[in-house]
């Protein structure tokens, strides 16, 4: 196995190879699997043309694992489904919440018991759907 080929850099970022499962005692066919590489960029941001970043400041989604200071990837131009995390403007205020459809009504729910569910009265403007969260611990 050529070790220098394990990490390949390209203009899209650094490719980390997905290496096969190890069966005890047998060599892995890692070399054959090297051809299917997904960069972390492609993995986290599959549609870069319509993706944006938002830095989280509130605590509405802490129980969903999104903490203040986290970076979320937000995708524009997609219709939300129940269970998606969305960034939306409700009656003049922007929030990040779970999106849920109850019949014809829309409910926005926080993942934090401190926040009560929101039932949009007048208008719901969508900035996008949260597709990934990024938290970096070291420089």
């Amino acid at each position: 196995m050529k070790t220098e080929k394990v990490v390949v850099t390209s203009t899209h970022g650094r490719y980390l190879p997905v290496v096969g499962h190890i069966m005890a005692g047998f060599p892995t066919p890692a070399e054959e699997e090297l051809q299917d590489l997904l960069s972390l960029d492609e993995y986290l941001i599959p549609r870069p043309k319509s993706s944006f970043m938002v830095r989280v400041s509130g605590d509405a989604m802490t129980e969903a694992g999104i903490l203040p200071g986290d970076l979320v990837i937000v995708e524009k131009g997609r219709n939300p489904k129940t269970g998606d995390i969305v960034i939306a403007e409700v009656d003049g205020e922007w929030t990040m919440k779970y999106f849920r459809k109850e019949g014809k009504n829309i409910v926005l729910e926080a993942a934090n018991t401190k926040h009560v569910p929101i039932h949009p009265q007048v208008e719901l403007r969508l900035a996008g759907i949260v597709t990934a969260v990024i938290r970096k611990y070291h420089q």
Partner: protein, 435 residues
């Protein structure tokens, strides 16, 4: 009169022009959703409005007006510094979206593109009109702002179309419908017709684009230079200008310029900018492995008058360290202490692909070779720590005082994400929301 038929075919060619609607302020509205629909302008750092939102335009605020005057017209006006980092990200995305429909896309400026979709009907299973519609919709949906689209048989006519209805317009001018769109179009609004040509045409009694297009060929050829004849043909539906997709690796010239605010006559500051232009141009040339044989340096005065000087090198060179003396000499020739300058610029010409270098008989090749090796390291350092992190003393002044002179930093410049450096930012636009 508008029954003139210039072309018997509806679509001898199908060319699209996409034009961003108030592009800079539209980008700002996407990354600051709370600003949507408000009277905002960009260009705060220059003191002159670079772009006004449609709400601001309705209040009578136009591009090119001074910020001071604009504030008098509209006291509640929101003035933002230009955030070119974000605008370029949006610009590149806009071109990428258009490239999904055809590979023949020309990025004409930061907010404009031409696309040749001739022959794409079968591949995309749509009419030309529908392709144009889809391009406009995709940009609106994925980027969150509107563009105006013109579809016609030539570049000049496509541009007539994109201007015809704005914002969020879609204007289709097929070969048979040309005259109807030119009838009421003042000839000076045609792309490529400047001040001098307009005045010349007025002397002949020609006011509209249609009157110009209807001039007989012999008269046009006798009275106009080549560009004039070309525009005349394009207006008549005969495609002269091809849509040129960018060929990134082959440049005829590389130019770097910088406009600063406020304008100045400080020689150290001007020279530092000229050196920085040179460094930036050389970085680009090195990236594409091109060697310039000629260099132009220029200073632009406050009244937009330009003073430039050209130098032919006795051997091609892309290392600012070797070129400093030449730039200093040009600067000494160009600079007048009593003038106020607003911009500096460098152009590299006669770009050569060859890597072989020949030294003259009386030259000591050791020094240039040393400099070449030095720049290998410089490029490596800059790749790691950001562009210009290692630079010449001549441009260092900008690091010390350059930022302060540019006025208020943009929100993006004030936002440093964990792991980013001042010069290296993540390549996605940030939506600045408190959530």
């Amino acid at each position: 009169m508008n029954n003139t038929i210039f072309s018997l075919h509806r679509w001898p060619k199908a060319i699209i022009h996409v034009d961003g609607d108030a592009f800079f302020t539209s980008c700002e509205e996407v990354i600051h959703p709370e600003l949507k629909g408000k009277a905002i302008v960009t260009g705060g750092e220059r003191g002159i409005i670079a772009c006004a939102s449609y709400t601001a335009k309705k209040m009578g605020i136009k591009r090119g007006v001074s910020i001071l005057n604009a504030k008098k017209i509209c006291p509640g006006l929101l003035i933002l510094p230009s955030d070119y980092e974000t605008y370029s990200l949006f610009s590149r995305r806009m071109f990428q979206i258009i490239r999904q429909f055809t590979p023949q896309v020309e990025a004409y400026s930061i907010d404009e593109a031409f696309a040749d979709i001739t022959g794409m009907r079968r591949a995309l299973r749509s009419s030309y009109e529908h392709i144009a519609f889809q391009i406009r919709e995709s940009i609106g949906k994925e980027l969150g702002f509107t563009v105006s689209v013109g579809l016609s048989v030539t570049k000049v006519l496509a541009k007539v179309g994109s201007k015809y209805q704005k914002p969020n317009g879609l204007t289709v001018i097929s070969g048979r419908e040309i005259s109807g769109y030119l009838e009421n179009l003042p000839v000076q609004n045609v792309w490529g017709i400047g001040h001098a040509t307009t005045n010349y045409l007025l002397k002949m009694g020609i006011r509209t684009a249609l009157e110009f297009a209807r001039m007989p060929e012999s008269m046009v050829k006798a009275r106009f230079t080549k560009p004039g004849v070309e525009i005349w043909r394009e207006l008549r539906g005969e495609s002269v200008y091809p849509v040129l997709p960018e060929e990134k690796s082959d440049y005829a010239s590389i130019s770097k310029t910088k406009t600063f605010a406020p304008p100045t006559s400080d020689p150290d500051y001007l020279f530092a900018h000229l050196m920085r232009n040179l460094e930036s141009a050389c970085i680009k040339a090195r990236r594409y492995r091109l060697l310039p044989g000629r260099i132009v340096a220029y200073l632009k005065k406050q009244d937009f008058d330009c003073a430039g000087q050209e130098v032919k090198l006795n051997r091609p060179c892309v290392y600012p360290m070797e070129l400093t003396g030449i730039i200093r000499a040009i600067f000494a020739v160009l600079y007048r202490p009593q003038e106020i300058y607003r911009a500096t610029g460098i152009v590299l010409l006669d770009l050569d692909r060859s890597v072989e270098r020949q030294y003259s008989l009386f030259e000591d090749p050791v020094k240039p070779e040393k400099i070449r090796n030095l720049y290998k390291e410089v490029d490596a350092v800059c790749h790691k720590y950001g562009k210009h992190s290692l630079h010449l003393g001549g441009s260092h002044l900008l690091e010390e005082q350059g930022k302060g002179r540019r006025g208020e930093p943009t929100v993006r410049e004030q936002t440093m994400l964990f792991g980013e450096t001042k010069r290296k930012h993540l390549p996605l636009p940030i939506i600045h929301l408190k959530v």
